[in-house]
């Protein structure tokens, strides 16, 4: 399908397509120069995100799916395949999930047992950098993809601030961390600063992606902190990226209103590039089920090696070390006074292990020797010499028992149970996604 470029009288460029048209009633956004509200959204019935669409100078997409893995994969597809000169806006809302950054550590950043207990909260690792955030239906994610020539970390955050201001959130602004914050309730009552949106970026050779959240009306606001405080945090020292905590609050704006506002501001920003014809394309499960790229992307994002295995090297130690001298919280376990467990982990697998002070039963108790055996087994893994993978452990009791298989001694039951109970909280396997 050949694209025909027309120059309109003001020097901007409008794209039309010639040749077999798709049979679609496409959605047209009309707006006045006064940045008025959207009128008449008509749904597009095209079944794929065609290359034609991806070549348009200005593109706006909205997801009808709440699946975080699908939404991130659609976003990634847009990043990889939209025309290098184009400006793309993508908006999506996710089911409840905790989303960690590309180079983060889930055992450090996330309360994994709490997620397990909640059952309906997913764990996601995104491809952009930055810290850990919580998404649910009260949060809208906005994503802008543009050419590297115009990349700026605040440019599109400022765009969202304009949308918020138009909706009455007068104290919204972008801070030095590129987050969007409000003072008080955002409408002039109160002076405390609250974060309402975080940003993250992915930069490739040809394109720049900036995406962010916006806490509009999450019903889970009070619980978000609980999910983002890990029981392993006092014991884990990680390479990679740590999150920065901020007090948060809801902006208290309807998600539809916010979405329309952001689309309006985006179209106004790129009015010159797009002329007047911007079609909002709704995309969802139906539209992408035949798109291999997106399916592959989803498979990757949902995989255990990606979610857990992409973790940079970290150490876990029950006592202060030279590398991590922090005081540890007191542990009330059935162990000797010299109890210590230390692991180094790479890709979520135990590389080195040092265990001491377990209590044993069996003949001729020689604690130090037994500790050495247990340490060696943990580091070496099972018979086939593969390392112990944290995300495969269903119960630490099994691991500790198997560490003494075939030996004349074993870890005493009280010791085993108390240590396992603690380790199961810090490293609870992967019983959920």
């Amino acid at each position: 399908m050949a694209a025909v470029l027309l120059r309109n009288t003001t020097g901007g460029i409008r794209c039309l397509t010639k040749g077999p048209a798709f049979i679609s009633t496409t959605t047209t956004i009309s707006f006045s120069h006064g940045f008025g509200l959207l009128t008449k959204l008509r749904r597009s019935h095209s079944t794929t995100i065609s290359q034609d669409l991806l070549n348009k100078k200005v593109q706006v997409y909205q997801s009808t799916s709440k699946d975080p893995y699908l939404n991130l994969s659609i976003e990634h597809h847009l990043l990889q395949h939209s025309h290098p000169d184009s400006y793309v806006l993508f908006l999506y809302i996710n089911d409840p999930c905790v989303v960690i950054g590309r180079n983060q550590n889930p055992w450090l950043e996330v309360n994994l047992p709490a997620l397990q207990e909640a059952e309906d909260i997913k764990l996601v690792r995104r491809r952009s950098g930055g810290g850990t955030v919580f998404h649910d239906h009260g949060n809208v994610n906005w994503s802008v993809i543009c050419p590297p020539a115009v990349f700026d970390r605040d440019r599109h955050a400022e765009m969202v601030v304009r949308a918020l201001k138009d909706l009455g959130v007068t104290t919204a602004k972008v801070n030095e961390r590129h987050d969007i914050v409000i003072a008080g309730d955002g409408r002039g009552n109160g002076k405390d600063i609250f974060k309402v949106s975080g940003s993250a970026y992915k930069l490739t050779r040809l394109r720049s992606l900036h995406h962010g959240t916006c806490l509009l009306n999450s019903p889970r606001l009070k619980n978000i902190g609980k999910f983002l405080r890990s029981p392993g945090e006092p014991y884990i020292k990680a390479r990679g990226v740590e999150s920065v905590r901020s007090p948060i609050r809801n902006v208290d704006v309807d998600t539809e209103e916010f979405t329309k506002g952001v689309v309006d501001e985006f179209c106004a920003m790129y009015e010159e590039q797009c002329g007047e014809d911007v079609k909002l394309k709704r995309v969802g499960e139906e539209d992408v089920k035949n798109m291999d790229n997106i399916r592959k992307g989803m498979d990757e994002l949902m995989s255990i090696p990606w979610i857990y295995g992409q973790t940079p090297q970290f150490t876990f130690s029950s006592r202060p070390t030279e590398d991590d001298p922090r005081e540890r919280p007191p542990l009330d376990l059935e162990v000797q006074s010299d109890f210590n467990i230390q692991f180094t982990l790479r890709h979520g697998e135990i590389q080195t292990a040092n265990v001491s002070g377990l209590k044993y039963e069996g003949r001729a108790i020689d604690g130090d020797f037994y500790d050495g055996v247990v340490s060696q087994t943990l580091a070496k893994g099972s018979e086939d010499d593969s390392a112990v993978k944290l995300y495969e452990i269903k119960d630490w009791a099994t691991i500790l028992k198997s560490a003494t298989t075939g030996q004349a001694f074993k870890v005493s039951d009280p010791s085993l149970n108390s240590i396992s109970e603690w380790l199961n909280k810090v490293f609870p396997g992967n019983h959920f996604r």
Binding site: R102, S128, G129, F151, L203, T204, R205, P312
Partner: protein, 169 residues
Amino acid sequence: MASIARCLRIARPSVVSAFAQSAVRIARPFSVTANNELRKYTREHEWIELSDDKKTGYVGISSYAAKALGDVVFVELPEEGKEVHAGDALGAVESVKSAADINAPVSCKVIASNLTLEESPSTINKVPEDHSASGGWVAKVQVTDQGIADLEKLMDEEAYKEFTAAEDH
């Protein structure tokens, strides 16, 4: 790296750390100045320097890019044995919440990665163009025949200096 570098023009003073700025003023190590004609740069601010054998070399990001990135908090190194074409992603850095691709300047195969950067990512800010053991180079590579041809398209040091000077306006 291209999009990162644009930030430098409009970066607020707080974004570019004083440390990264001072890194640019450090005198270049002797080993780097010895073989200038073998060092080439891409428009995306990566460099490659061929060793005397003209088959292997070191790859990294330029001082210009390192400065524009801000404090690098994590480097994702490529795996040994990875084969890439010119322009393919060879790893990534994270700074200021941005996961930015490092792209291969030429077609090549990765022989080794600079593990120093795993322990100390800030090395890439301090000595980004240093390919000694304690330097901020990213990967040691073997250049393919296609890679030798790719080299022709890259800028030498003088041309790169002019290129970056122009970018700053």
